[in-house]
């Protein structure tokens, strides 16, 4: 069984780095990008799950989320939105995200969430 691939879209290198370590340690393959457009453009090698920051420089995570969830190709991919706090919960759900996780999060919490969708 090949490793599941998770795409991390966040423009904070500190977050991208630590998420990569966590997920790789947990046995996932990780792709990263800090560019919103890259996420929208994925067509081949679709990830099994997307971790998307709600605010990326120059991109609105909600808009990206809505787009992905509207595309036949990508709408089935579980999408976890990363937000700064719980107050964006509503927004995340509205945008069609499967769930969300607020900073700062516990590693175990994140891994449990990922596992729930693609475990």
């Amino acid at each position: 069984m090949s490793k599941k691939t998770i795409m991390i879209a966040d423009n904070d290198p500190g977050i991208v780095d630590v998420l990569t370590l966590m997920l790789e340690d947990a046995g996932y393959e990780v792709e990263t990008t800090d560019d919103g457009q890259t996420v929208k453009d994925i067509k081949e090698h679709l990830p099994d799950l997307i971790l998307l920051d709600i605010w990326m420089a120059g991109f609105d995570g909600r808009e990206i989320c809505k787009y992905l969830k509207s595309q036949k190709l990508t709408k089935h991919i579980p999408l976890i939105m990363i937000s700064a706090n719980k107050d964006i919960e509503e927004i995340a759900k509205e945008a069609g995200a499967d769930t969300f996780i607020a900073k700062p999060f516990e590693m175990n919490e994140l891994l449990a969430m990922v596992d729930k969708y693609i475990g």
Partner: protein, 647 residues
């Protein structure tokens, strides 16, 4: 008897008898003649040996050549009777006596014309009386006349005395009046002035009395407005009240005077007097101008409000902030000009109740409907001498700028804490990754260090979250994610978590049965965490912390009791205030932002619950909250409903 002889006929009582003798008739006969005819409207009568008339005194006096004395007497009596009520009785009795005396004289003096006629027609009447009889009667008449004369003189003395007393009394009043007072005749000549007048206008009595008002002191009273007042208005109205005259006097400078004048009429055709009271209101006016300029100089909108909530006065700042002119504001409801009229009227009612309010927040609405000014009102009642509340004086402090600063500060804190979150998330993440790796390697020591590091990071996370929450509360942006959850389960979870953070303390649970309640699980958990972490923090030397929960059919209650330093009574109310920290020498060692209980208080309040503290000083404190179980008990409308927590 010829006409020439009659022309020298009687002018007094004695002469009646002389005439009777001369005509050789008795005085009675003369009386009888008089009775038979009515001459000049004078009905003559007989009383004893005396003539008297029933005609009105004044008319008689007018016709009588003897009347000059009586006239002056009558005048004095009249004057007296107008000034002195007390001596009225005396005067009446004196008057009647005097009148009687005058009657007699009048009758006698009226007699000549009577005699004249009688004499012409009956001059040849024979005498019936003996000469001796006539002499006796004459003597009697003389004696009686003398007696009456004496009586009149003594009564006149009494009246004079009374008049003097009354005049002294009136003089005393004029002198006592503190304001300048002038008595003028109708030609505006000064009859008298009081000391206050001389002092106020720096003039001497010698240069004042009997002078024309306008000629006084280099004609400085020759004021056009005063001339109009005294020469045109007063004669028409007889009274002038509070007439304002401003004049620049040569030796005393610019004065503002309040004039009150009254004409004293002395009867038809008689000279009238003018009483002119002059009140120097220069200082009062200056004081009120001073007060006015102070009020106007204030940048704070100031208003006065009547007991029924109407605006009675405003300053320029109020005009500016409302966009309405004074005339539009005065007389209207104070509460009209705020975004929350009910709150405004509640505010002034509070002032009438308590006597004052401080820092009462309201927002003034500009007439253009676009501009709003956040203000804090400080208001108090003002009273008259009798302690009756006349109204409210209210000063608004424009806090728009302060609010703006506060908003900026909150925004800054919000951004700052937000920015802090990202690196903390990273650090926490790295620590957890490391922890995982060391665990795999079996390096227990390293794992333990990383657990401690994680605990500290959690503290940091809470501090950042508190800062963010506090700014959200201030901005009204604290959101709740409510749903059904088991209260007991939450308490157990948190107690367990908190027990792991301390080795010194023992958390004892005394919990009621499981109960499902409705609310924001995380936020209520935050309150419990705060209570327990405070209990740990403020009881460094005692071990036990008791967590008690109880429930009834409508609510759940949770209390956390410690046996630490406690909270003095006077500070217990303040512990839920923003930035409150336990102070004092010993207490300074306790760290914290002073936000935890403030946030806890807000969370409980937003859940329509109660939060309180019990502490009897040094034996520790018990913090409690009570929450309603029912969903409908929420006040807040902004909560988002997420029910997944119950899953």
């Amino acid at each position: 008897m010829t006409k020439t002889e009659v022309s020298i006929l009687p002018r007094n009582l004695l002469d009646v008898h002389k005439a009777a003798l001369f005509l050789n008739v008795s005085a009675t006969t003369i009386h009888r003649w008089a009775q038979q005819k009515k001459l000049n409207g004078v009905k003559l009568g007989v009383r004893g040996d005396w003539l008297f008339a029933k005609k009105d005194l004044l008319k008689m006096v007018k016709e009588n050549s003897l009347s000059s004395k009586a006239t002056s007497l009558g005048k004095r009596i009249k004057k007296q009777s107008t000034v002195s009520h007390n001596s009225k009785k005396t005067i009446t009795s004196v008057t009647s006596k005097v009148r009687k005396a005058i009657d007699i004289k009048t009758d006698l003096s009226s007699a000549p014309s009577l005699f004249q006629k009688k004499i012409i027609t009956q001059s040849d009447q024979p005498s019936h009386m003996s000469r001796q009889e006539k002499v006796i009667k004459l003597k009697q008449a003389v004696t009686l006349t003398q007696e009456y004369t004496n009586e009149i003189i003594s009564e006149l003395n009494v009246i004079n005395e009374e008049v003097t007393i009354t005049r002294d009394y009136a003089d005393a009043i004029i002198r006592t009046v503190r304001g300048p007072l002038l008595v003028l005749n109708k030609d505006l000549r000064i009859i008298s002035a009081n000391e206050a007048f001389y002092n106020a206008f720096k003039v001497a009595p010698n240069d004042t009395e009997n002078r024309l008002l306008y000629d006084l002191g280099n004609r400085q009273w020759n004021i056009p407005k005063l001339r109009v007042l005294l020469e045109e208005i007063l004669p028409e109205k007889n009274t002038i009240e509070d007439f304002v005259v401003e004049h620049d006097f040569k030796n005393i400078g610019q004065k503002t005077m309040l004039l009150n004048a009254r004409t004293l009429l002395q009867g038809p055709g008689k000279t009238s007097l003018i009483l002119l009271a002059i009140e120097d209101v220069t200082q009062t006016k200056q004081a009120s101008q001073y007060a006015r300029s102070l009020i106007e100089a204030s940048l704070d909108p100031l208003v006065t409000i009547s007991p029924d909530g109407k605006i009675t006065d405003v300053n320029e700042a109020t005009v500016k902030v409302t966009g309405l002119v004074r005339q539009q504001l005065i007389g209207t409801d104070f509460s009209n000009y705020f975004t929350e009229p009910d709150k405004a009227s509640e505010g002034y009612q509070q002032v009438f109740k308590k006597g004052f309010v401080t820092d009462y927040p309201l927002t003034i609405r500009h007439a253009d409907g676009k501009r709003f000014t956040d203000v804090l009102y400080n208001a108090s009642v003002y009273k008259n001498d009798k302690n009756t509340v006349l109204g409210i004086f209210a000063a608004a402090r424009d806090i728009t700028e302060r609010k703006q600063f506060e908003r900026q500060k909150d925004e800054f804190v919000s951004i700052a804490s937000h920015e802090l979150k990202t690196p903390v998330t990273s650090i926490k993440g790295y620590a957890q990754v490391l922890q995982g790796r060391f665990k795999k390697e079996g390096n227990i020591e390293a794992v333990e260090l990383l657990v401690r590091m994680d605990a500290q990071l959690n503290k940091l996370t809470i501090l950042i979250a508190d800062l963010l929450d506090a700014t959200k509360i201030e901005g009204g942006k604290l959101q709740f994610h409510e749903g059904y959850f088991d209260f007991k389960e939450l308490v157990m979870e948190i107690v367990e978590e908190m027990q792991q953070t301390t080795t010194k303390h023992e958390l004892t649970k005394k919990l009621a049965a499981p109960k499902t309640i409705y609310g924001d699980r995380d936020r209520i958990g935050q309150v419990i965490t705060n209570f327990i972490s405070n209990a740990i923090k403020y009881s460094p030397n005692t071990k036990e912390i008791i967590i008690t929960s109880s429930e009834d059919k409508d609510s759940v209650m949770l209390c956390v009791q410690d046996f630490g330093i406690g909270i003095p009574k006077e500070k217990q109310e303040k512990v839920f205030d923003r930035f409150f920290r336990v102070s004092g020498l010993e207490q300074d060692t306790y760290a914290g932002l002073g936000l935890g209980l403030y946030i806890a208080g807000e969370i409980v309040k937003r859940h329509s619950g109660d939060i309180w503290v019990e502490s009897n000083g040094k034996k520790g404190s018990t913090f409690c909250f009570r929450l309603s179980i029912k969903k409908g008990a929420r006040k807040s409308q902004t909560n988002t409903l997420v029910e997944e927590e119950t899953a």
